[in-house]
Symmetry: C2
Amino acid sequence: MKRKVTLKQIAKELDVSVSTVSKALKNSTEISQDTREKVQAFAKLYNYRPNNIAISLKNRQSKNIGVIIPEIVHHFFTQVISGIENVANSNGYNVIVTLSNESFEREVVNMETLANGSIDGFIMSLSKETQEKGDYHHLREVVNQGMPLVMFDRIAEEIYCDKVIIDDAQAAYNAVNHLISTGCKKIAIITTEDHVSVGKLRTLGYRNALQDARIPFNENLVVKVDGEAACEKAVRHLLKYQVVDGIFAVNELFAIIAMREVVRKDLKIPEDVSVIGFTDGILSKYSNPPLSTVVQHGYEIGMMAGQMLIDKLEDREPEDHYRTEVIKTSLELRATTK
Amino acid sequence: MKRKVTLKQIAKELDVSVSTVSKALKNSTEISQDTREKVQAFAKLYNYRPNNIAISLKNRQSKNIGVIIPEIVHHFFTQVISGIENVANSNGYNVIVTLSNESFEREVVNMETLANGSIDGFIMSLSKETQEKGDYHHLREVVNQGMPLVMFDRIAEEIYCDKVIIDDAQAAYNAVNHLISTGCKKIAIITTEDHVSVGKLRTLGYRNALQDARIPFNENLVVKVDGEAACEKAVRHLLKYQVVDGIFAVNELFAIIAMREVVRKDLKIPEDVSVIGFTDGILSKYSNPPLSTVVQHGYEIGMMAGQMLIDKLEDREPEDHYRTEVIKTSLELRATTK
DNA sequence: AACAGAACCGAAAACGTTTTCGTGTTAAAA
DNA sequence: TTTTAACACGAAAACGTTTTCGGTTCTGTT
């Protein structure tokens, strides 16, 4: 197990100074052609690679981007990561991913351990718990230290930083509107509790669409749940006591579960009930029938977030000026709508 | 944007030396109670956090683990990452994830950029392209440098390092055997091209199961495909010209696609055709009907890989001794089998 | 009063780079 | 032959830590 060769060792072997070696490897004209070749040949032979850590310390930058997400086992987040990875790598940055597992505590710890030199900037989406608590001191601390931060999807309005979001309300509006335009009159929404920012916004879009179509809002058609089991139960209850001809779900899992209950009641999709989900994941694509859905373009969100962060890091953007980019969603109509 | 406060600055402010500050913060008895309190109070006030990079340089270790996977948008890999994250974090390590995107080139580049101080050890699964080429020089280089490497799932036999795999052949054997025991006689397998190591092994298990049950092997029931479109086409062709009462697919996507074709031919699942997939992903769980599948326990694989690496890093394992751990698979029987 | 030992603190080296500045040598110009 | 400038290289500082070693000062013991 031979340790990695360093400048010092090369210098010693070739009987020159460390500075000379460093310069020679960078092809500095300060060094004679002769020595340059000698050094480079030697370096190549011994497979010299500069130590990133040392360079980081010297340059006071790590060329790393820290990403904190609530859960990785989510198609949307993995898409975002892919997008970030893409622009990061093509700009010479690495990506460090850590998970908060929807826990405030872990989110704080992860931020703190990363924020001490390991990374140059953050990209993150808040954990559920953080959104419930509304405690953003760790974010404030980071931005106060002058570390660029880009938030996406689950953001905190009151933090001054760059943000990438989707037009949640508008997207929901469009989805529900499509249901209406295909003849649905009794449209239910399956959403999360209000503390999740995106759930709230999507519910708003739902109401607006109804209102604009002069369809009376019916409290009984709004089901708020926070998990798979709860969702199943609630939908079953809904279908038992209400007549429904359209369902809009704020994520794809809720949509799939709802579909299951619908067919269980021997209702036909989309003839009797239309369904639209949110987030174009793998489930939507391969469900039976394939689910019509609002697609969030996670990859684009990731690219945008990555680009915004890098722009800040490379001083292409003034550091005291923050943007909020809205990535357009689209409707992918498949077989669960008429 | 106030820069982070350093030991030097604290020392200057309090008119003591850097060494004193360092020791005081570590509660060294070498320093008087008085000074300790003073320093610690000051540090707390100014929110001092040691610079990780500097510590890394000093200690010649980064407390980072590098993970390279082919694709993140895969339930199996995300599970593995979660497992790695878990043991890594509870041992004080961070995880740096990079993607090869199934490309040899990117795999090599990622390894090289990480291997220079940024991380203390690798956990990886080979890209398709790397397996096709059979070029493992980058792996050799890394292990020659004395950097611990743990491979999982898609491994290279000939590299000496720790490995975590599943009993691919055995798992396939069990799955096919279950089909046989429930009365299936004409069992097809949908698999990948042979260069993907796991595909090959699973095909082997399929053959063995048939053989042990004295069911003649039929070349026409083996379909090798390498993508979604190809899969769909091949299965359609299969169902058109062959009588099939059981399907074993080497991943869940192939299974789902096969199911789609089966119902399209108005065959009932599982009455007419039983189906078993591989990898217990989200698709299997929520498909209609829910797919019986071989579950790979990705989370456990990740934990095991992480633990093995950390054991090496903390010198709990001799560095010249390599293990290959086999994680048991299990059959999750849902609604696509009798 | 002299000395041992404890208590407290600082200087300096080290980790592996990059970069500025200075210095000695050589070749060209006067 | 002397002056100048180009050329080639090295010393040293810096990034922010940790740790060893040594040096004061003070306390307590003979």
